[in-house]
């Protein structure tokens, strides 16, 4: 966009003064975080610099297979992260998280990029990668929360689950309460974010678009699409991951296998 103010090395150098100021505060108050702050600042520059270089290349190449590969890689990192955030685990948790994440994000991402935004060509990395990145980042939280809550329900309230089983519950009936509990918990952050949007905070993506010169109403339209797609991805992803996890703990005979639960 024409009215975008370009940032060069000089501007970044000036901005560095700000993080140095934060370091001075740490030294003056003897907080002892100046070393960690310095490392974090360097990591910010290196990591973002790398991703910037990669994105420039990907945008320039416009190669559909490359875009798909990057998307797949993103879902794998997100799945690992989601599994690690859960305080309990089981064999196959990363696989389940990945399947749920990939399925829900590709379906929702597909609907948004192809049907709502109408990206041309379908893999245009400038749209597809940031949009999917946002779905992943946010549904990761939802999936991790849902998974964590589901495993906690099994660990803490297994007497209730087994009570239903003792009276002949099928697997679906036995897992209905933990599933509802988990998906509800997973959806709390996005519902809160949707309720507070524009009042408590300006969502990051909208802010970025406005900074980049987009008309505010256009930025708002994009933000609404993003919020809704995150809600769909979280609901779908949390439900899927819990269904997959449920199968690890209960076969068709509806016997609860708590021995497969690990606390990590």
């Amino acid at each position: 966009m024409s009215d975008l103010i370009q940032l060069g090395p000089l501007q970044l150098a000036v901005a560095t003064l700000l993080v140095i100021a934060a370091g001075v505060v740490s030294l003056a108050l003897r907080l002892g975080v100046e070393r960690r702050l310095a490392v974090a600042a360097v990591r910010t520059v290196v990591q973002l610099g790398l991703i910037g270089v990669i994105l420039e290349r990907v945008f320039a190449l416009r190669e559909p297979l490359l875009v798909l590969g990057i998307l797949l890689l993103m879902t794998m990192f997100a799945a690992r992260e989601a599994a690690q955030r859960s305080s309990r685990g089981y064999r196959g948790i990363v696989v389940d998280a990945w399947l749920a994440m990939a399925a829900s994000c590709f379906v929702v991402g597909g609907v948004v990029t192809q049907a709502v935004v109408g990206v041309e060509p379908w893999y245009d990395p400038q749209y597809v990668i940031p949009l999917l990145g946002m779905i992943l980042g946010n549904s990761l939280t939802g999936i991790a929360l849902g998974l964590d809550r589901f495993l906690e329900h099994l660990a803490v309230r297994h007497h209730e689950v087994e009570l239903r089983i003792a009276f002949g519950a099928s697997r679906r009936e036995a897992l209905a309460a933990p599933l509802r509990d988990a998906v509800r918990t997973g959806m709390v952050p996005i519902i809160n974010a949707m309720s507070a949007a524009g009042i408590v905070s300006l969502p990051g993506m909208m802010t970025g678009q406005i900074l980049a010169g987009a008309p505010p109403l256009q930025a708002v339209a994009y933000q609404i699409v993003v919020m809704f797609m995150i809600a769909a991805a979280v609901a779908g992803g949390a439900m899927l991951v819990v269904l997959l996890a449920g199968r690890r703990f209960m076969g068709a005979d509806a016997t609860l296998r708590l021995d497969r639960l690990r606390s990590s």
Binding site: R157, H159, E160, E162, L163, R164, I165, A166, F167, G168, A169, S170, E173, A252, D253, A254, T255, L256, R257
Partner: protein, 220 residues
């Protein structure tokens, strides 16, 4: 008397790997109340949980009134050979939720709550004053145990399997509950298997089963 339940062989080890019991078969005649006893730690609860199918047990055959239940039909087995678990677990929710939830499950196959039987059971166990709207979490330990027994009897399975159903009850309440259990078990096509500790109640049972003591392992 014809056998109502035949199941086994059951075997189990405790957490340290010591054999609790091995090759145990459970047989229960129609119209009988059987009592299972044994020292604490002998695996009574584990045996009951394996019998009803809450705990995995490989290579076990389960037969009820001549009908064989495969592992895949365990939900149907559990609905007819139903456990009243130790410590009387309650669902989060009201007393009514806890009494009625099973009838909303598929295994109920359209059966509905027999309201007059429910009223009769509640008054026989001294729970008539507790409204169904009460939060189950507010019940005392004794009330919970009685409610769990009422829930099991109301469900009316072929066989009620109860793990210390009268623990924590005073003598009068325990006697009332035991009388209900006896009545339940003594009907045709029914039976009950209970872990009990009271000597008088044990004597009143039709069959006494003993677990532990002789199980292989490493006792000196």
């Amino acid at each position: 008397m014809p056998a109502l339940v035949e199941a086994g062989p059951f075997s189990a080890r405790n957490g340290e790997g010591r054999q609790l019991f091995d090759g145990v078969r459970v047989e229960l005649g129609e119209g009988q109340l059987a009592v299972l006893d044994g020292p604490s730690g002998s695996g009574k609860s584990t045996l009951l949980r394996q019998l009803v199918g809450l705990e995995t047990a490989d290579g076990v055959e389960r037969r009820l009134a001549g009908e064989t239940f495969e592992p895949s039909s365990l939900p149907g087995w559990r609905a007819r050979v139903t456990l009243v678990a130790q410590d009387a677990p309650m669902l989060a929710g009201t007393v009514g939720d806890n009494l009625r939830f099973a009838f909303a499950q598929r295994a109920a196959a359209g059966r509905t709550v027999d309201e007059s039987r429910l009223a009769e059971l509640m008054s026989a166990t001294g729970l008539a004053g507790i409204p169904e709207s009460r939060d189950a979490a507010t019940l005392s330990g004794g009330e919970r145990h009685r409610l769990a027994l009422v829930r099991g009897l109301l469900w009316d399975p072929a066989v009620l399997v109860a793990d210390e159903p009268m623990s924590g009850l005073d003598t009068a309440a325990a006697e009332a509950c035991f009388a209900l259990l006896l009545d339940f078990a003594h009907r045709p096509d029914h039976g009950a298997l209970c872990v009990l500790h009271d000597a008088t109640q044990k004597r009143a049972a039709d069959v006494r089963l003993h677990l532990g003591g002789t199980a292989g392992g490493g006792s000196p």
